[in-house]
Symmetry: D2
Subunit: 475 residues, 4 copies
Amino acid sequence: MRQGQTVFDDDKFHDECGVFGIHGSDDAAALTALGLHALQHRGQEACGIVSYDGESYHTHKALGLVDSTFSNVGVIERLKGRSAIGHNRYSTTGEPALRNVQPMYADMDFGGFAVAHNGNLTNSQILRRELVERGSIFQSSSDTETIVHLVAVSRKTGVVERLVDALMKIKGAYSLVAFADGKVMGVRDPFGIRPLVLGRFGDAHVLASETCALDIIGADFVRDIAPGELVVIDNDGVKSIFPFEKSANRFCVFEYVYFARPDSFMEGRSVYEMRKRIGAELAREAPVSGADLVVPVPDSGVPSAIGYAEESGIPFELGIIRNHYVGRTFIEPTDKIRHLGVRLKHNANRKFIEGKSVILVDDSIVRGTTSRKIVEMVRDAGAREVHVRISSPPTKHSCFYGIDTPKSEELLASGMSAEQICAFIKADSLAYISHDGLYRAMKEPGRNAKNPQFCDACFTGDYPVDLTDFNQGKA
Amino acid sequence: MRQGQTVFDDDKFHDECGVFGIHGSDDAAALTALGLHALQHRGQEACGIVSYDGESYHTHKALGLVDSTFSNVGVIERLKGRSAIGHNRYSTTGEPALRNVQPMYADMDFGGFAVAHNGNLTNSQILRRELVERGSIFQSSSDTETIVHLVAVSRKTGVVERLVDALMKIKGAYSLVAFADGKVMGVRDPFGIRPLVLGRFGDAHVLASETCALDIIGADFVRDIAPGELVVIDNDGVKSIFPFEKSANRFCVFEYVYFARPDSFMEGRSVYEMRKRIGAELAREAPVSGADLVVPVPDSGVPSAIGYAEESGIPFELGIIRNHYVGRTFIEPTDKIRHLGVRLKHNANRKFIEGKSVILVDDSIVRGTTSRKIVEMVRDAGAREVHVRISSPPTKHSCFYGIDTPKSEELLASGMSAEQICAFIKADSLAYISHDGLYRAMKEPGRNAKNPQFCDACFTGDYPVDLTDFNQGKA
Amino acid sequence: MRQGQTVFDDDKFHDECGVFGIHGSDDAAALTALGLHALQHRGQEACGIVSYDGESYHTHKALGLVDSTFSNVGVIERLKGRSAIGHNRYSTTGEPALRNVQPMYADMDFGGFAVAHNGNLTNSQILRRELVERGSIFQSSSDTETIVHLVAVSRKTGVVERLVDALMKIKGAYSLVAFADGKVMGVRDPFGIRPLVLGRFGDAHVLASETCALDIIGADFVRDIAPGELVVIDNDGVKSIFPFEKSANRFCVFEYVYFARPDSFMEGRSVYEMRKRIGAELAREAPVSGADLVVPVPDSGVPSAIGYAEESGIPFELGIIRNHYVGRTFIEPTDKIRHLGVRLKHNANRKFIEGKSVILVDDSIVRGTTSRKIVEMVRDAGAREVHVRISSPPTKHSCFYGIDTPKSEELLASGMSAEQICAFIKADSLAYISHDGLYRAMKEPGRNAKNPQFCDACFTGDYPVDLTDFNQGKA
Amino acid sequence: MRQGQTVFDDDKFHDECGVFGIHGSDDAAALTALGLHALQHRGQEACGIVSYDGESYHTHKALGLVDSTFSNVGVIERLKGRSAIGHNRYSTTGEPALRNVQPMYADMDFGGFAVAHNGNLTNSQILRRELVERGSIFQSSSDTETIVHLVAVSRKTGVVERLVDALMKIKGAYSLVAFADGKVMGVRDPFGIRPLVLGRFGDAHVLASETCALDIIGADFVRDIAPGELVVIDNDGVKSIFPFEKSANRFCVFEYVYFARPDSFMEGRSVYEMRKRIGAELAREAPVSGADLVVPVPDSGVPSAIGYAEESGIPFELGIIRNHYVGRTFIEPTDKIRHLGVRLKHNANRKFIEGKSVILVDDSIVRGTTSRKIVEMVRDAGAREVHVRISSPPTKHSCFYGIDTPKSEELLASGMSAEQICAFIKADSLAYISHDGLYRAMKEPGRNAKNPQFCDACFTGDYPVDLTDFNQGKA
């Protein structure tokens, strides 16, 4: 467990990163800070903004949350200029040191170049070794720096051409924003695994990982950036380039299940609606007869629980109360009282649970330790029966595309059947949404096994992008 | 507005303080830290613990949250001993300096004395002046220090007798925990305005502001401390003393409406259940015909909204999404973008709101500025109609009993009718729960005007305890 | 050894405290900061200033040096007003916590009262116990707070009268500055053990521990405050009061030997001149035949070494070079290299020492460990002979009057003869100045054994003020 | 003036940097910390150590002094290994940010490479531009990073060969220590402008800027590294390489005048002795008839003043007392009292100055503002006459070889004759040592105008190394 992590957090896949970019507003840095704040759920470890005022680049990066890092008017005022890009980091590669915080910036022969990236490259170690042999010096352990060096050593003319040259070498899942030569650029990888949207704020254009970052500043949503698309935003407007060969779209389905904010729209779908639809689908697939209450595991299980409750007609109740003040550090209890850990974050609402048959709705089970404690807490509060319903299929495989997951062997579902897991967490019953059920909730007819409509590698092991470093023992 | 406060926070009455005490456990300090964590909602400004190991007192106090202050094993280990008392502070009197952080400690002729207090004394300024004239030197601006000096100068023999001597001089609302001479003591004021409960953890006895602080450590709830009761806990067990003349019980009804944690029980009532019952009562008193959705203002409006939805049969929906990462400081936006402020914390869930008639359920309207912005945000998201329902009566009067409220003249309801407030916040309709409706939700037949069953001074101006300092122009 | 202390510092008596006060200048706080800076050698642990603007008191106190604490214009600007008092602290009683930092301030019935003190009370523990029994609450372990409480509980009318009332109760060595009721007050104890001078800066009057604090601001020296004198400075000028019975003057002779800055004048004598005269006296009392060089132990031995060299005609040479960057913390070396410690601060100048007979001049030997290392270092650099000459008599007794000294049993000279000490430090010869020689250097005919002209208790054990707490086992 | 600088410091040339390296001791990092402490006078802004344990490199760098940065046992323990190099920095190129702190480290294809450097490259801007065009990314503004990149991109095989390849491209004054591939390397530039010495500590070999860094750890001095020499130290011992064409030796004469510590030996000369000899030469060249006292400006003028006093027979006296507690920050006085600034650091010893004709000995006059204030302070203390004698020739030219000097136009002597300067500082007379007198003091027959024995460019404008960047407008 990471130092400072609470028991609960450990049993989720972790959010990755969020990016934001804007060109054409006098308040570029302040709007970027607001956008990053709206994207805070995508990365809480560190954040940074690089702005450009037509002559100079200005950078502010720090470990910590957006609202403390950018709460100071002075900081925002020093980030002068009408263009800015920003990043929230939840470390996927690279230890949590300041030198790994994005955006990364470098002086190149054509001037400054800044880039920030959500995702993970699957061949960055191999590229890094080649670059070091060539004489490039890396300052960080972040895969983003590989992109910077590839741009630096490109022999092409023109920033966009050099970025494309770099993109042709990298593999993986990425949505990136970059800035150079008066242009804000945005790219999604050929499979479109990670999200990136385009918005408009008055005369300015905006790029962001999710639409909630447009909403916070009152920007209008224009469209999703397409898989494999590179957009170039400058004073002439928005230009679209498709440098890659056409790939199948494989958007990450887990964004709908857990990562994205419920008020965001992604690829034309409302995240909140998708979660309710999964809950409803789950109610049809895995009903519980004689149940008295549908109780969400807060906060991520709430929309699915509402969907389950509406579909099943069983009352929805906040049977577990969350403590809003659990921070990133917490009391390291003595051995004697370590088993109390789970209650730092949650407490059962005894009044409504006592003597009842409870349906607990959660989004996923990773290692299972937390689920077991929650089931125990609900039983301790007097529940007669505890039925667990999970709004994703069993997570059996690691993600190599920008999500922080345990190794496969640490994933409970990689080595246990649902029945075994049910026994492990001591529930009366356990059901996951099926693969096809999940796809139906997404308004698809079902999973197309030949050309799956989403990246669902964590459920199926079907990885759309080569795991080059991993296969060569580098990752 | 307090420095660092967000726009939203400003429009609530603020929680006051939380206290915790334990006698008889080897983990006294760690358990106190956990208890304070569960009571964090009662005060986020500062916290402190004093422990006693049979020979020496150990103190750790800091500005900030419990989980950062006490996250360090070393800190907990230094707080040796089998007895401890702790405090969460939201400043009611005294500026936010470290010297005001409780528990307060003093060396007296009989040894050490420590005390922590939730509430507010209504004659502390007058007492303070008398003590200073006598030669007492105050180090803080906290009214708790008045109690310490009264104990120090008491001519009685014995700690309990000196504490009683001090209590006979003070007026106000208070639940306090104290430690001296191997005894943990707990007191509620004669009217029992603020809460205090007794629990049992193995062989140890526990005092806490709310039952959620018992739950977090797995302690059993024994009973509420009675109004006017002083309990003395030592190695011989729990002794109960009633030093005051009998008063009427006047527990703060706003604890049910907003302050307490929904999973707590107070005076035999489940807070969560009371909130749902208020929502149901409100649905009966103030229905909205043709409404499509019941939407809570997160997070405090959720239980009432569930109650309203269940009673009315109108679907409950999370139509407003809360950003969980709003901290105590935030981006101070430039003038141009200041109007965006409200969205730092909330975003409307457009998918579910567009074209709908929405019932917004909130717990109170203080100054009205935030309510106006939320109504506007919901309309911007496409709502056809916005009906606001408030789960408390209009808040017309300041609290002098330990709650941080604006002066009466700043309270919107002190100068406006509900119709005027409805126009101010630009809602299609506005209704508050009635006084009698609130009492009915509390399972009373209605408000007993002669002997009200609760302190409801903020709604009615009926103050049970003399406002001595205030009436003499001292507060 | 105190944490963070270097090996060398440990073998000196430590400076005590410095005080400064000013009334009548618009730059009161800035001038006080400068004065404290000039007095930094009297206390490096903490410093503080209290100013008064006619309505309110303003305080800034911190652990650390004056130049870092008061380097900020904002800090000085907040210390508004035309009157201020300040203090440098080297802890004599009370651990080094911020609550012990002076000036101490209290709100009393007549208004604010601030006081700062150089010296040590010899009956403060007994007084403290009486005050606590009476109901006074102490916040610090500093003896200065005893004075504050005595003023607070005095039944006299008028600030000056209450201060006198307090002074009549305390015993010890003290020079204090106080502020209340528009008056800056200065007091020296009846024996005048610690220094205090009066100066004039334009229309303003100044009090300071040493004249160097007048020089730094360009103030004129007016006179020493007399032993037992209380001066009251307000808008009407300077008033002098002698509340005590007349005592003999017993100024601390060690101020001349080591504590005071060489550019200060004390009781009509130049400190630098006195040190040179001691060196000359020592050359007459303890000549070294055939010596090649007189080498001071930097920096305190320099003036005496110059005096010795001039009197003896032997060349003066900087044979030991001091590293100016030794701070309060330093590398804690591993065991293997711990013996290198002494060289952190000093290095022998081999070029001038090799093959020579060297006279090392130092001001005192306390525990002897450092002297031994310096002699060894000089021999390692090639000295043929090393003769040590000490410009004070053997220090055999602890100081109870405000100087930080080891207990008597830890003082080398309390248990060893000069011959034994010479063997311990491995010098070829060792001589101390005689008692009479020291008094002759002070331009006295010799020591008057019945009525010594100075306090020389650390050499003679002749304590002018009762050691009340010590004799009752309280100190 | 740099932020935080005192008035006095501003009128000196500033020290540059200090380097230290060791191979073969279990206490490598601790010994390096001690060595850097002894070299603290060469750079107070920042310091760092890189150690190597046979497998991994360990780095600790910080802004601030050595004794605070490395005072922690934990820090030293983390710097594992038997080899280490370290650096004290006084910024000459590059702003004072942490990323500019040396040693610089990079991962290269052959493994890690660390380097630290005292001096300044005169063609680093041009090299940097070429490297950036090639695709190298610079992280700092330090010229040391240029060396790192040159090593990285070298096509030679072997670390030593690649370092030589880099050295052949750079111009300037430099003494550097480097570490790679199990070898500690040391280099002096072909003219030997900056110092570097070799020492032996048991089985370990040591490199250091000055011999005082050998003395502090008790290491034996072996020899100066020769101009243009590269030494390679590994488990096989010390190997010497001379990669450059033979140049004339041009050691910096100002090291003797001011920069080096007086206890160091450089190129076979004792620094303290050289300073005394300059003082004596000055007494012969510029005697003052009827003078009463020779007074040094502390602390740098002391040895020359002793030399002057001995030669002239006029008594030496500490007529100016230095405050030892002047730190890097200080009270920013209000306008009214800004003129007091000079006395923050110094005070005249009035007793010895009053009525006297005083010879003030200082090492240099840069802008003259401080000298003017000191002369005024001495006159204010009552001096009858003030004669200033300077132990260096007039400083008319900027240094480009690693010393922080003002631009030529800001140097007082570049635009004024000695007579004009005498009038400016309001002295009764002023004399500088002559060029030939300085060389005689160095035990040379005089300055060889064709092949000067030292670099004296700051006095003569005769720059031994091309100022490439400067001449192309890049520096």
